[in-house]
């Protein structure tokens, strides 16, 4: 249980800057997600916190103390590796007990604590098995137990769910969150999956090219991405270019997209001058098909339909110069080539200066 602080953290590999001046404060017991594509610097950040990689500049503070000079084996940081990294020549018990034995715990103490943690991750009775005799989900829970049993001050999770199938993934999300809450351990999770980040973390940090793009609660980041990049990363599908219109009316501000006027929430577009170009972003699920010509409803033609199980994703052209991609909860009566009216709820439109 500890606080973690990164101050101006920088890592360069030759000419390449992997992490470019990262500042972050993590409260005790908080769960933070570092979210970004491959090469964004999230894994390098994790390795620097663990002590495997030496920073080029900046400091890492644990409980207010600079840990830069402390070797990785003395940092007391639990790590969950993407490939689990279970020791193949040791049983489940030996894997989990590895850290305790190094701490010179007595035999009874070791057995008791391994037993406790194995029951916490619901693996009681499998102590004698070797990793190769376990399923993927079981291996993962052994890895989690091994990282937690030494009572580390900070827990680092590297892509914890990327190797699991969809059903197990949801189960493990719940499990990880439950265990993290129960132990109240400060946790940093690295992932490229925005759904994973949003469902696990108290705060999400979106990274790109070694820099923090946005820090916020999952809700903030999911609904109000700070930049088009974050919006794109968080699964916004529809992007429209426009120019800011005149004075707001009734809490709404007009945006001109070609010849059409789209209304957006006033507070979203407050800092735009009249005539300034801007970029609008929408999530597929925010758009709906309507029957009558409401405000912010525009006619278009269905170009393609993709059935995705619980939603059907459409490509509609003609509403604006750029195509829009609504996702519908039910299969619409109309098919490819049909004219439809797409409604763009003004509260769901994010506005960026372009």
């Amino acid at each position: 249980m500890a606080t973690l602080e990164l101050k101006g953290l920088v890592k360069r590999f030759g000419d390449f800057t992997a992490v470019d001046g990262m500042d972050l404060q993590v409260a005790q017991g908080e769960m933070i997600a570092l979210l970004g594509g491959s090469g964004c610097g999230k894994t390098t950040t994790l390795r620097m916190i663990a002590g495997f990689t030496e920073p080029t500049g900046g400091t890492i503070l644990v409980d207010g103390e600079d840990v830069g000079k402390i070797p990785p084996y003395k940092r007391n940081i639990g790590i969950f590796f993407q490939n689990y990294a279970l020791f193949p020549h040791m049983t489940v018990f030996e894997n989990v007990a590895f850290g305790l034995k190094l701490q010179k715990c007595s035999k009874e103490e070791t057995a008791r604590r391994v037993g406790e943690i194995l029951s916490l991750v619901k693996l009681t009775g499998l102590d004698g098995r070797y990793p190769r005799e376990l399923s993927g989900g079981q291996q993962q829970r052994v890895a989690l137990a091994r990282a937690l049993v030494t009572r580390p001050s900070i827990l680092l999770l590297d892509e914890p769910l990327s190797n699991l199938d969809a059903k197990l993934r949801v189960e493990m999300q719940v499990e990880i969150k439950r265990i993290q809450r129960e132990l109240g351990i400060t946790t940093i999770i690295v992932t490229h999956d925005h759904e994973e980040a949003v469902s696990l973390a108290d705060r999400v940090i979106v990274m790109n090219q070694g820099r923090i793009q946005q820090i916020g609660t999952p809700q903030e980041i999911f609904d109000h991405p700070a930049s088009p990049f974050v919006a794109d990363f968080m699964g916004f599908s529809t992007f429209l270019h426009g120019k800011a219109g005149g004075a707001p009316r009734g809490g709404k501000r007009p945006i001109l997209c070609g010849e059409k006027t789209l209304w957006v929430a006033q507070e979203e577009a407050e800092d735009l001058d009249e005539g300034e170009s801007c970029l609008l972003a929408l999530r597929s699920e925010s758009m709906t098909l309507v029957e009558a010509r409401w405000e912010n409803a525009f006619p278009g033609r269905i170009e393609s339909m993709t059935y995705k199980g619980h939603t059907t994703r459409l490509e509609v052209s003609g509403c604006f110069d750029e195509p829009v991609f609504p996702a519908l909860g039910e299969i619409p009566g109309s098919g490819v080539g049909d004219e439809v009216l797409v409604h763009f709820p003004y509260r769901k439109i994010c506005v960026y200066k372009a």
Binding site: P72, Y73, R75, N83, F98, G99, L102, R146
Partner: protein, 264 residues
Amino acid sequence: MDDRRVNWACRVLAGLVMVFLLAPLVVIVIASFTPTALITFPPKGFSLKWYANIFHASTHFINGLVNSLKLGLIATGVDVFLGVFAALAVCRYDFKGKNALLNYFTSPMYVPSVAFAFVLLQVYSQIGGIPGMARLLIGHLVIILPYIVRNTVSVLHVFDWTLEDAATSLGAAPAQVFFKITLPLAKPGVLAGALLAFLYSFDEVALSSLLSTPKFVTLPIRIMNYMELTFDPTLAAISTLLILASLVLIVLMEKLVGLDMFVK
């Protein structure tokens, strides 16, 4: 062509190869029990006298065996130490010229041992006064190193280095990581390499015959010398014992690490 006919032809060919490999050994083993003074096949009668002759012959086979074992064990022991660390350095770190370094470590495999022995001989005669055992040991240390490096590298090549990170994060200092994680997992390669290296040293003739002194002679050289003078079934008896020893070693290795390590 018909699949079954190919299959049949393959079997015959495989059978012939087996016979070709095994027949001489079988002949030697059976012939070693002959009571006659010349190697005959099939033997006329049964006797163990040539086995007894190993101990009574004017040539000191047992002394040669002891020397060969000493030489092989010391050379292998020292080279396991050197070879494992050489392999680790080449596999774990990314640096310029790491492939060149690996080739350098394994180059004694490609240099004719006679040429190498000749060079060593020159050096020894320049220095002078080097004891017989050391003369051979230095040569063997060099020529058997490639077997240990290569086999260890073949394991470390596919080694998951995050295991070392995992152990480190759990509080293991570098030495503990090596002895508890890396070495146990590299063990099959190290043992396989050590066995091959030992057998090569035990069997080595070219280098040993050039470098050995009358005071320190290995078993293969003893056998060669004996063969030049007499050609009786004592040699068949010795060969039989050596074949038996090799078998025991192979079975032991199979129990310890599994033979699949050798066919990689």
